[in-house]
């Protein structure tokens, strides 16, 4: 027995090394020094068996405008999952391929609300119950703040649309507490009052910055991770523990809990990057940390340093992908589901884990720090993040950064081009719910902006583009910038009129195809199809080996370049393929002579493929 015990003890010690250590006392980290507008002090208890939350929060809201605040409007996001009549479920019964489970709905109920002095208030539900309003006894003038005491209880749904539980003991808890909208003065583009919309299927989030102090009580043995830093951990002696977190200058607070989490960490440019993973996904550790390190390093270099002391990357169980691929301040979820069950996904030919990790961390610069309004202008957050992802993936993982599996090779940029080409007549600008289903939203918010910004970079040049992006980020971080702010910055920094980008691509729905329609002995005819116009250039090569690069505005539909003294052999529009939105690159170049060598090369392979298929058809 002793022989058995010794290795068991060693094993237990080693296993214990891999378990999260109790939180160290916070060493007074540097939090961004900005006004804390919406601050929350929350005590919440998780009933892991019933999958419920019971909580109390103290909300303090600072009126930073000069408009008095007469009421308070809350988001009660979990009510989107109460029944099929919610706006969310009416618009889409599924999210990211995961369906809502009627047997495990989610909801939130405010059981009490009062002012800090105990004055009771009455909450009224708005629309489908994902919003609620409370009238304040007297308007709160500019520069002053008000506090509310709110009691609530919530039922977590089975993981769906980013939040909920999976199995017996995995919890990813987002959009879980009564949360105020954003009080804003009126402007050309905004209505005065609370900026808060019901929870739509396509819509994400918008909130003010503030301080969060959250104490989570849950069964002992659970490992927790959250927005912010862990500041205290207490065993309550009754089978529960209370873990406390603190965060400043953040727009939301989410947390995760499971007894199965293992953790590892790496310090990158002074930021503690922590990876919570499940034992069955231990093969993802190095890959996820490498991707996270690359993201924190490059995004920091390109736009500005990551502003928080910690970044948590959370792995999610197989079949709980509804919780994966989401961003919160200081916490992102990733995960890699091996749907084959054969361990195939362990191969590094597929970079989906890296892609998701990099993308979600990219949000930390745009969603979490710039803090765009994702409901009203979703293209800004998702688009900037996806452009950053395309950029980083190509730089770190090479030309086939999404899939590199033998003959099947795919770059992330081309993945986005595939999405875009299916719906090229989609404007980028619009409210999240304006777009036609998830596919239309995907093109408007992700694919087209990623390609449009890549095209902008290709035309402005890398150095100018990075200057545009970093200036914009530095200038507007923590300020909820808009499309107009970006236009102002981009045109100012580049010194160019960027109508083609903003009017043509952001607000416009035109598409374009440039092609060389004819190459004659002394002339080249180029043409544009579609409403979109992007300035480009045409490379004309002559028989004596010389070449000329002709600038072409792209307007007018068709243009003929003539060369009476030279013999043209070929011409190519946009030879550097700067315009990644061109619907067809394949017709951009034309030669007077057929390329016989290449033709033979293709036919050799075609011939072989036919032989190969005939052998399969004929019995191997």
């Amino acid at each position: 027995m002793k022989k058995l015990l010794f290795p068991l003890v060693i094993f237990a010690l080693l296993a214990g090394c891999n378990r999260p250590a109790p939180p160290a006392p916070a060493a007074a980290p540097d939090w961004p020094d900005i006004p804390q507008v919406a601050s929350y002090n929350i005590e919440v208890t998780l009933d892991a068996d019933a999958k419920t939350l019971t909580g109390h929060e103290t909300i303090t809201y600072l009126n930073t405008t000069d408009i008095p605040i007469p009421d308070a409007v809350f988001h009660l996001y979990l009510n989107a999952f109460r029944d099929q009549n919610s706006i969310f479920l009416t618009e889409s019964g599924t999210a990211r391929g995961y369906a809502w489970d009627a047997g495990h709905p989610g909801w939130i109920e405010v059981t009490g609300i009062r002012l800090a002095d105990g004055t009771p208030l009455t909450l009224e539900s708005i629309e489908d119950g994902t919003l609620a309003r409370v009238q304040l006894p007297s308007p709160v003038p500019g520069g002053e703040s008000f506090s509310l005491e709110v009691d609530f209880r919530a039922q977590l749904p089975k993981v769906f649309a980013r939040t909920g539980f999976f199995g017996d003991d995995f919890f990813m808890i987002g959009q879980w507490f009564p949360k105020l909208g954003v009080w804003q003065p009126g402007s050309q583009s905004a209505v005065e009052g609370w900026n808060a919309y019901p929870f739509h299927a396509n819509s994400e989030f918008f909130a003010d910055f503030g301080t969060y102090d959250v104490a989570i009580t849950l069964p002992t043995g659970y490992v927790t991770g959250a927005t912010g830093l862990p500041v205290a951990e207490k065993d309550n002696g009754n089978g529960t523990q209370t873990v406390s977190y603190h965060a400043q200058s953040v727009i939301d607070f989410s947390w995760t809990a499971s007894p199965n989490f293992r953790q590892t960490a790496r310090t990158v440019n002074g930021v503690e990057v922590v990876y919570f993973y499940l034992p069955e996904h231990s093969f993802t550790v190095e890959r996820a940390l490498d991707a996270a390190e690359a993201a924190v390093t490059y995004f920091g270099e390109w736009y500005g340093a990551y502003p928080y002391p910690r970044l948590l990357v959370v792995d999610v169980p197989d079949e709980a992908g509804g919780a994966g691929g989401m961003e919160y301040p200081m916490l992102v979820t990733a995960g890699l589901e091996d749907f084959t069950g054969l361990g195939i996904m362990k191969g590094e030919f597929d970079r989906m884990l890296e892609l998701v990790t990099v993308h979600e961390i990219g949000h930390e610069w745009w969603y979490a720090t710039a803090a765009f309004n994702e409901a009203e202008e979703p293209w800004l957050d998702e688009g900037f993040t996806d452009y950053s992802t395309v950029r980083l993936m190509g730089k770190v993982y090479g030309p086939y950064d999404a899939v590199d599996a033998g003959n099947v090779k795919l770059s992330y940029q081309q993945m986005r081009r595939m999405d875009y080409l299916a719906f090229p007549n989609t404007p980028m600008y619009g409210k999240a719910w304006d777009f036609n289903g998830l596919a239309g939203y995907g093109v408007a918010a992700y694919a087209k902006p990623a390609l449009a910004l890549t095209t902008l970079e290709n035309i402005l040049g890398e150095e100018t583009m990075l200057e545009v992006m970093s200036t914009f980020y530095q200038r507007y971080q923590f300020q909820h910038p808009t499309t107009d702010d970006f236009r102002l910055t981009a045109e100012e920094v580049s010194g160019q009129d960027l109508d083609w980008f903003f009017d043509g691509l952001v607000y416009g729905d035109g598409a374009l195809n440039y092609s060389v329609s004819a190459v004659d002995e002394h002339s080249v005819t180029v043409m544009r199809q579609g409403e979109l116009v992007i300035p480009t250039e045409v490379e004309v090569t002559f028989s004596n080996g010389s070449a000329v690069l002709e600038p072409w505005g792209g307007g007018g539909g068709e243009q003929v370049f003539t060369y009476p003294d030279k013999t043209v052999i070929r011409a190519e529009i946009d030879p550097g393929r700067k315009i990644v939105l061109d619907t067809q690159w394949s017709d951009n170049g034309l030669s007077r002579r057929m390329d016989i060598w290449s033709w033979l090369a293709i036919n050799t392979r075609l011939f072989y493929q036919l032989q190969n298929w005939m052998l399969y058809w004929g019995g191997l």
Binding site: D318, P424, L610
Partner: protein, 338 residues
């Protein structure tokens, strides 16, 4: 060449072959080409059957030559029209990139061309570029006639090849062509049935396996996929044994031959399992060398090198198939199954 016989005794392969060789001539078409019933023939285990298959396939290079010529001619016929259609895009500069390997951007563009062209305000109906319309038509036509092009020559050659293996005599073009002609119709029918059943059976089985994997969890794939592969191997063995049984038994009734083949496999599963297991391993080896070792280092635009490499691969696969056929013919010839 020396091999071990059933009792572990070294013997000359040609001599071993002679043991199972039977003689028949075109002048005796009504009687079975080999005499089998009641003959006290030695058993041929799976390992030896595989060895015999390999040696016999090498003994008749004419069969490999004919199979290769059929492959060349059939593919040539199929490739002719698409190759002509490619002369127009061969004026596009992008053809150089395509020559180096079809890149992701080109595949995506071609796939989504109808959607994208519809968005350009041009034609009302989304459509492919003109050259591609032609190519698609040619491709569809090729796809439609592919079974005919595959099955006609294959059905023709199989009878002659199997007769050669079953008889084990000096190669005779006359005898070969007689065998080709005699079983052409029967094998054409069998190939059509094989194609139909294979698609139906394995389409259904694979779909079922995938659905089961999704429903019950990926772990189930570890059970279902090897099972499907085993069934596919069994099905291939049954069809190929049917052909060999038909030739060995001198019958053109493929249903009777199938029944006898199935019974033979049922009686001697290990022999067939070993033969087909080894044959599949050989095929896998050939694929691995070609796909993992050779092609990744060959620059695709260097078409003469690509041509040499791909044709070597095709030749090796044809040889592997002939070896398998010869192995089955060997098993049937050495037993009373025929």
């Amino acid at each position: 060449m020396e091999t071990n016989d059933e009792n572990g005794t070294l013997m000359n392969a040609d001599a071993a072959d002679k043991d199972i060789d039977q003689v028949s001539t075109p002048e005796q078409p009504a009687s079975p080409p080999i005499s089998i019933s009641g003959a006290p023939l030695p058993r041929l285990n799976g390992f030896r059957a595989f060895g015999v298959g390999l040696s016999r396939s090498l003994r008749y290079p004419q069969l490999l030559l004919v199979s290769y010529l059929v492959s060349l001619l059939s593919a040539g016929m199929l490739a002719f029209v698409p190759a002509l259609m490619l002369t127009t895009p061969a004026h596009r500069i992008a053809i150089r990139e395509a020559a180096n390997g079809i890149d992701d951007w080109l595949v995506i563009e071609l796939m989504e061309s109808p959607l994208a062209s519809g968005a350009l305000g041009g034609p009302v109906e989304p459509r492919f570029p003109d050259w591609m319309n032609g190519w698609i038509l040619a491709g569809l036509a090729t796809w439609l006639i592919l079974p005919v092009v595959v099955w006609l020559p294959a059905s023709f050659v199989t009878g002659g090849a199997l007769l050669t293996f079953v008889e084990g005599q000096k190669f005779s073009w006359r005898r070969f062509l007689w065998g080709c002609w005699r079983w052409f119709g029967a094998f054409l029918l069998l190939n059509a049935l094989e194609g139909f059943v294979s698609q139906l059976l394995f389409g259904g089985l694979l779909t079922g396996a995938v659905i089961a994997g999704i429903a019950a969890g990926g772990w189930l794939n570890w059970v279902t996929l090897p099972l499907v592969a085993l069934l596919a191997m069994l099905w291939l063995a049954a069809v190929e044994a049917t052909r060999a049984m038909a030739v060995a038994g001198g019958t053109r009734n493929i249903f009777r031959a199938f029944g006898r083949a199935a019974a033979a496999i049922f009686r001697r599963p290990l022999q067939y399992f070993l033969l087909y297991g080894l044959a599949m391993l050989l095929l896998l080896l050939v694929h691995a060398i070609f796909r993992l070792g050779l092609m990744p280092v060959v620059p695709l635009a260097w078409w003469p090198v690509v041509f040499a490499a791909t044709q070597a691969f095709i030749l090796l696969r044809l040889w592997a198939r002939l070896a398998r056929w010869a192995g089955v013919a060997g098993i049937i010839g050495m037993t009373s199954d025929g």
